[in-house]
């Protein structure tokens, strides 16, 4: 698996990124895994850009948070960067799940982008 990695109790995601993003060969990587605290809580770490958009969507599908109807909490304590494409992946996932995503992160650029994009289903909360 070249880029993003799935850990913990989530099945491995796709081996290769799909579509245009396959033109990229290296990237900052990300980790996504379920938080042990609850089924609707996931941990997201690292950097996400166009490189891993498809992989992130797939990893999210496999982790499948949000089945309880409660808000999906994304623990982004160690999130370093997420671009607008991947925030839109979260937005679409939340919309399809009928849930709200709460992204808790100290990453100011993530919070700035959530604000710029006027997302309806994703909310960003600052944490230290």
């Amino acid at each position: 698996m070249p880029h993003g990695r799935n850990e913990s109790n989530v099945a491995p995601a796709a081996v290769t990124p799909l579509g245009d993003a396959a033109r990229f060969v290296r990237t900052g990587s990300f980790h996504l895994h379920r938080a042990t605290a609850g089924r609707d809580e996931i941990v997201l770490e690292g950097e996400l850009d166009a490189d891993c958009e498809d992989l992130f969507a797939l990893a999210l599908e496999r982790a499948r948070p949000g089945r309880s109807g409660e808000p999906i909490v994304v623990h982004g304590e160690r999130l370093r960067f997420i671009d607008h494409r991947n925030l839109l992946v979260l937005e679409r996932y939340a919309d399809q799940s009928g849930a709200t995503v709460v992204l808790r992160t100290p990453c100011a650029t993530a919070r700035r982008l959530v604000d710029l994009l006027d997302l309806k289903h994703v909310r960003a909360e600052a944490i230290a």
């Binding site: 245009d20 033109r23 990229f24 060969v25 290296r26 990237t27 900052g28 950097e47 850009d49 166009a50 490189d51 960067f81 671009d83 607008h84 839109l88 937005e91 679409r92 100011a108 650029t109 700035r112 982008l113 710029l116 994009l117 006027d118 997302l119 309806k120």
Partner: protein, 319 residues
């Protein structure tokens, strides 16, 4: 119902005020402001300290006029469009028949960043046209360089003059024409020297890493974050939509970072790309818009080397 010179006009009524004295400024702008108040139209004054003071001093203290800080409001063109569109939509939703705004750009706009403000003045003819808004954009003829005044004439359909005169500008051109011209971009002084960093075909992650390193000790954390967003989007666009090779160059001054991203392609075909808000959350094409929102200054240029996006962060050079 719209009052004043814009009565009966549909959409955006965009005027320049090119004044050469305080008296001239007041003779045009004061009736505009008091006329808006008298007609119960939301009236917004976004001026620098001196001209805002002239208006304040001439109005009774409880006059219902909204004063916004000129410098803070006009910090980056694409963000102004976003902010004003929200403000206008709010007033229209509340039932306003017309909104009046008088504004002027801060001194920093009249330097190497001018190209982006000229583009702003042109694109808003489209961006605000869905609202019943009448604006006056004030320019001081004593301090605004002649080529910039020529751009003002080409981007404002009308000029407002004393004694309630509102004249068509013969030099006005449609925004599609104005924005489709590739005007030469004034080089930043930092670009006279060799770049501190040069990357060939970097991934967005590698470009971000180079920016983080170069910004250390130069930019604030907030400015660094905004530049990371802009560089990441621009490199991604170059890789996805441009033509290789993609080159990233970074120049660092004491308080300013200049980053260029060049590819061999022609750049976006849509002259409005980056300046108008993207249509919906599921659509693509947001990268350049986000780049404009996040950047202190964006300059787009096209020449024999290809298409270049220049991103300037930190304290902008003014002349």
């Amino acid at each position: 119902m719209r009052s004043g010179a814009a009565a009966g006009h549909h959409g955006y009524f965009h005027e320049a005020v090119v004044y050469d004295s305080d008296d001239h400024f007041q003779a045009v702008v004061l009736p505009f402001v008091t006329g808006g108040v008298a007609a119960d139209e939301p009236t917004v004054v976004t001026l620098g300290d001196h001209n805002a003071g002239l208006i304040r001093a001439a109005l009774p203290a409880d006059t219902p006029v909204t004063f916004l800080a000129g410098g803070a409001t006009y910090a980056r063109p694409a963000a102004v469009i976003r902010g004003y569109r929200r403000l206008l939509a709010g007033h229209v939703a509340a039932g306003a028949g017309q909104i009046r705004i008088v504004g002027e750009l801060p001194a920093a706009a009249f330097g190497p960043a001018w190209d982006s403000w000229a583009r702003y003045e042109s694109v808003i003819n489209r961006a605000y046209d869905e609202f019943p808004v009448w604006t006056m954009c004030a320019y001081d003829a004593r301090t605004t360089p002649e080529p910039m005044l020529a751009d003002v004439e080409r981007t404002h359909p009308r000029t407002a003059r004393p004694h309630d005169r509102h004249e068509d500008n013969p030099a006005y051109v449609d925004p599609r024409t104005f924005l489709g011209e590739w005007r030469p971009v004034v080089p930043d002084r930092l670009q006279r020297d060799a770049p501190r960093v040069e990357l060939s075909d970097p991934l967005p992650a590698e470009a971000r890493q180079a920016v983080r390193a170069a910004a250390t000790g130069v930019l604030t954390e907030e400015a660094t974050g905004d530049l990371l967003i802009a560089v990441s989007e621009t490199v991604t666009n170059a890789l996805l939509h441009g033509r290789p090779p993609v080159r990233v160059r970074i120049w660092a001054g004491a308080t300013r970072l200049v980053t260029t991203v060049t590819d061999r392609g022609d750049g976006p075909a849509d002259p409005f790309a980056g300046l108008l808000p993207a249509a919906g959350p599921s659509l693509g094409g947001r990268g350049l818009w986000i780049t404009h929102q996040a950047s202190a200054h964006v300059a787009l240029s096209r020449d024999e080397s290809g298409f270049t996006v220049r991103l300037t962060a930190g304290d902008l050079e003014s002349r």
